[in-house]
């Protein structure tokens, strides 16, 4: 682990330095006194934008507005990162020194410094450079989610469940918000200069990363189709229990014409994860039969929100040894091992470790998962015999366990909700509600 003593000892002991940590040149004493810069930024309030404002702003792009957007991102992000750093600093000492958490702390500090020192942007060319900078940071921080999950799972004994879960929530919500702002600016820049986006390849109407006519049924169909094509060894960690071969159908009902403005990536992640869980449960419960009951997705158009209900017959909770054994369904979204004992399981931790050390990290998107299915098993980066995941006997595609908590964050951070209800012995219903922006012009 990191040596906490003076700088001289650290610089001498190069061999002891774990290879996954960035080198800390200053001693912790110096770090303490230099915290003043951070306090300065942390004392500022975040300037939040609503989804509506993002769309409105992005609709009529001019060079001037693009530069404005760039500088907003440049000045806003260090403030928010500073808040996160202060939050980390408030955690118990023993927690932040754990693997995973320490890594995230270093990453955030590095980002903070870089943003803080970045000069103002005044023209398109500088914006191009800024966009490159942003892309690099997004990339570097790809491993935050697994590292944080790993670190906090291990630290679970040192924190009350409430403190742990509320901390994780603040971190993840902030992360999503920052990435939304960043990616939105990147998308707007690309559109403005006429660059063809590699990410958003279809012709559906959008402003930046917000799809203004997001067709809910189409998104559900897309996720269902992708999951059908999923290789059968992915996500299996049942130690000898064979999952059924037949994948359940997804039936869609409800207000089928529903369209609204939303970040498509988020909606599809949520639906993807929920369908994934439902399929897994259904296949497991009905593994003896040749036909499996379908999963029913219901779309509802409410006055202020869009509702999606995913209803399966996968047995619900407390059904057998493989179904979630939690007191209440919402405990599945908890990172505390007190609420969700699976967090401390060796296989789970092993998977998180192995994924944390991978270059690409985990961005919590559908795209990255689908891509990973196509990669052959043995050509992973940073794998090999040192892979702790391999040592723990888990496959490359073993479950991380972040699908539900991340879906919960995605659903709730703009004011929506995600509720899980189990009909023990029969199946599970998950209700997602996402806010509807009224009359976007």
């Amino acid at each position: 682990m990191i040596s906490q003593s003076s700088s001289s000892r650290v610089s001498r002991c190069r061999i002891c330095r774990p290879r996954s940590f960035t080198v800390r040149h200053e001693s912790t004493a110096l770090h303490f006194y230099q915290n003043k810069q951070l306090d300065l930024y942390a004392s500022r309030e975040a300037k939040r934008l609503t989804l509506r404002q993002l769309v409105f702003f992005g609709r009529s792009m001019t060079e001037e507005r693009l530069i404005q957007s760039a500088n907003y991102v440049r000045t806003e992000l260090p403030v928010r990162i500073a808040h996160r750093l202060r939050d980390l600093q408030a955690l118990p000492y023993v927690v932040v020194t754990q693997e995973g958490v320490a890594k995230v702390y270093e990453l955030y500090w590095s980002a903070f410094e870089q943003f803080r020192r970045y000069p103002p942007i005044t023209n398109i060319k500088e914006n191009e450079a800024f966009c490159e900078f942003l892309r690099r940071i997004l990339d570097e921080h790809g491993s935050v989610i697994p590292n944080l999950s790993l670190g906090l799972s291990i630290s679970s004994p040192y924190l009350t469940p409430d403190a742990l879960d509320s901390f994780m929530r603040r971190m993840l919500v902030s992360r999503i918000s920052r990435r939304v702002l960043t990616q939105h600016h990147l998308a707007l820049s690309d559109t403005f200069v006429g660059k063809k986006s590699t990410r958003y390849t279809d012709s559906e109407p959008r402003v930046g990363i917000i799809y203004t006519g997001l067709d809910v049924r189409r998104s559900i169909e897309k996720c269902a189709k992708l999951l059908k094509q999923r290789p059968s060894d992915v996500g299996s960690d049942y130690e000898g229990v064979e999952m059924g071969a037949v994948s359940p159908e997804v039936v869609i009902e409800g207000n089928l014409e529903t369209k609204f403005s939303y970040i498509r990536e988020h909606l599809e992640y949520i639906v993807f994860e929920l369908l994934k869980n439902s399929m897994r449960a259904t296949r497991l419960k009905h593994r003896q039969s040749s036909s499996v009951p379908p999963i029913v997705a219901t779309i509802a158009l409410g006055a202020n929100d869009i509702g999606i209900r995913i209803s399966d017959q996968g047995g619900g909770f407390n059904f057998n040894a493989h179904s979630p054994q939690v007191k209440t369904p919402s405990d599945l979204c908890s990172f505390s091992h007190v609420r969700n004992p699976q967090r401390m399981e060796d296989s789970r931790l092993g998977t998180l470790r192995s994924v944390s050390s991978r270059r690409e990290g985990v961005w919590a998107t559908v795209h990255e998962q689908v891509e990973s299915w196509q990669k052959p098993q043995d050509s992973e980066n940073g794998g090999g015999n040192d892979d702790p995941g391999k040592k723990a006997g888990v496959g490359r595609h073993s479950r991380l366990g972040i699908g539900l908590p991340m879906s919960n964050i995605f659903a709730t951070y703009l004011g929506g909700s995600l509720d899980i209800v189990s009909l023990d012995g029969w199946g599970t219903d998950v209700y997602v509600r996402l806010p509807k922006l009224v009359s976007l012009r």
């Binding site: 000898g240 229990v241 409800g254 207000n255 219901t298 779309i299 509802a300 158009l301 409410g302 006055a303 202020n304 929100d305 509702g307 209900r309 047995g315 619900g316 407390n318 059904f319 057998n320 040894a321 493989h322 054994q325 004992p341 509720d419 209800v421 009909l423 023990d424 012995g425 029969w426 219903d429 209700y431 509600r433």
Partner: protein, 459 residues
């Protein structure tokens, strides 16, 4: 004119040929006060369900007499608590005629129990049981009566006070009726030498599917009569499953839930013409799921005691889901639906002008199809207060059957259905939740504790 107001309040004067109404009713007599104090102060013996049921297993003359002795001890205690809690309400509420009628009715019943000599023989018990049964009938319409009273007192009581009072009162009432009905059932069974497994309040092979069909047909009739159409019910899950429960409780809860679902479904699809409406009404789906038994040999449940029975202790609840396409509950209403006396009946579909207004007030605004229900509801009350009971020719009278808890034979009206159903569900440790998919429909999740393994339930 003024002289009337100044007339002394302590005496009823007949000097001038008319009676001055008292403003403040008389206090309890000393006998009543002493009895109330005695019974309200000694805490009710914490009887649990298995103890209550034990009087019938096996049923012998001795156990029957033990049962009546128990009933005569426990019921007055609980009635005394009830009397005291009503007397603790604000004075002005107590002067409301509906409330004061309930109060005197309870006092009378309390006195009857408190002064009744304990039966020492089977014949004496038979008399007692007969009168006990009548008493239960007399109190059949308590809840609608109290509801009406509270409706009129809306400006003197906050919703929280009402909720709190009613929660306690209804819980108390359930206990009393359980004890009373158990004893009545035992007495009957003893007389007829019944050997069935379903005497007493608990039926070990209650069939939810059967109850759903029964309640469904009743609600369907009501719905057709009121709204002109009704949806069908589709039962899935495990329709042949049974469990141990108090059938009348389940009956009440299912009826209320189905009433809501049926009403919502019809109202939501009311735009269509009546001719096609019947075919196009989406059915109400009821899914039945008995408590899962873990038989997996790979069971590594953390609760496992290492025994080979492999029976899951994580869930001994029977689950029922009622799913409708009634349009859901709007977000402005969702926090209120478990509040007593909140109802959307009686308002026209377009009058969401003040969605935050509770329908607490003295709303005699009988517009729309529910006007009859208000009348029916009041008719039910009026009969009940006078000491009538079931089958008195009420237009929407009480459902027949043994000891149904309330006289609410209306499709919608007083707004007590959901909160009371939830209380009933929670009584033995279960739950009732409603999840709404606004714009599409609602799901009600009912979880009921299986009473064969719930002996430790405190009642």
């Amino acid at each position: 004119m003024n002289s009337r107001l100044h007339r002394p309040l302590t005496s009823i004067s007949s000097r001038r040929g008319y009676i001055t109404p008292r403003r403040a009713p008389a206090a309890n007599t000393r006998q009543v006060t002493e009895l109330l104090d005695k019974h309200a102060s000694s805490p009710p013996r914490p009887l649990n369900l298995s103890a209550l049921l034990s009087f019938g297993r096996p049923l012998t003359p001795e156990s029957l007499l033990a049962s009546v002795s128990y009933a005569l001890e426990e019921i007055p205690k609980r009635l005394a608590t009830r009397v005291r809690s009503i007397e603790a309400l604000p004075f002005i509420v107590g002067t409301n005629p509906y409330v004061s009628n309930i109060l005197s009715s309870y006092k009378q019943s309390f006195l009857w129990f408190a002064t009744y000599p304990t039966p020492k023989t089977i014949e004496e018990n038979a008399n007692f049981a007969e009168m006990l049964e009548e008493l239960v009938e007399i109190h059949a319409n308590d809840i609608p009566t109290m509801a009406k009273g509270f409706q009129e007192c809306a400006r003197y009581l906050s919703p929280e006070e009402i909720n709190q009072f009613l929660d306690g009162a209804i819980r108390n009432r359930i206990s009393v009726r359980l004890i009373a009905e158990q004893h009545v059932a035992l007495s009957r069974a003893f007389q007829s030498q019944e050997k069935a497994c379903n005497f007493g309040v608990v039926n070990t092979i209650t069939s939810p599917a059967q109850m759903v069909r029964m309640c469904g047909s009743f609600v369907s009739e009501l719905c057709e009569a009121t709204l002109g159409a009704s949806p069908s019910i589709v039962i899935d899950g495990y329709p042949d499953s049974t469990f141990a429960y108090v059938p009348v409780h389940l009956e009440y809860i299912l009826t209320e839930i189905l009433k809501n679902s049926f009403r919502a479904t019809v109202e939501n699809h009311s735009r269509q013409s009546p001719a096609t409406r019947a075919q196009s009404l989406p059915p109400v789906m009821v899914t039945l799921s008995p408590p899962p038994r873990v038989t997996d040999s790979a069971c590594r449940s953390s609760n496992s005691s290492g025994s080979n029975s492999n029976v899951s202790t994580l869930s001994n609840f029977y689950s029922i889901r009622v799913r409708d396409q009634g349009g859901g509950v709007s977000s402005s209403h969702i926090s209120k639906i478990f509040s007593y006396a909140f109802t959307t009946a009686g308002r026209s579909a377009d009058s969401d002008s003040n969605p935050d207004a509770y329908d607490y007030g003295d709303s005699g605004d009988g517009g729309g199809p529910y006007a009859a229900q208000h009348v029916g509801g009041i008719a039910a009350i009026a009969e009940g207060v006078g000491g009538g009971g079931a089958g008195q020719g009420n237009l929407f009278g009480e459902i027949t059957g043994k000891g149904l808890q309330t006289g609410l034979g209306t499709i919608a009206g007083l707004g007590y259905g959901l909160p009371m159903s939830r209380l009933y569900a929670k009584y033995f440790g279960g739950s009732l939740d409603l999840v709404s998919l606004e714009g599409w429909g609602s799901d009600v999740f009912l979880k009921l504790r299986c009473l064969d393994e719930a002996g430790d339930s405190a009642i």
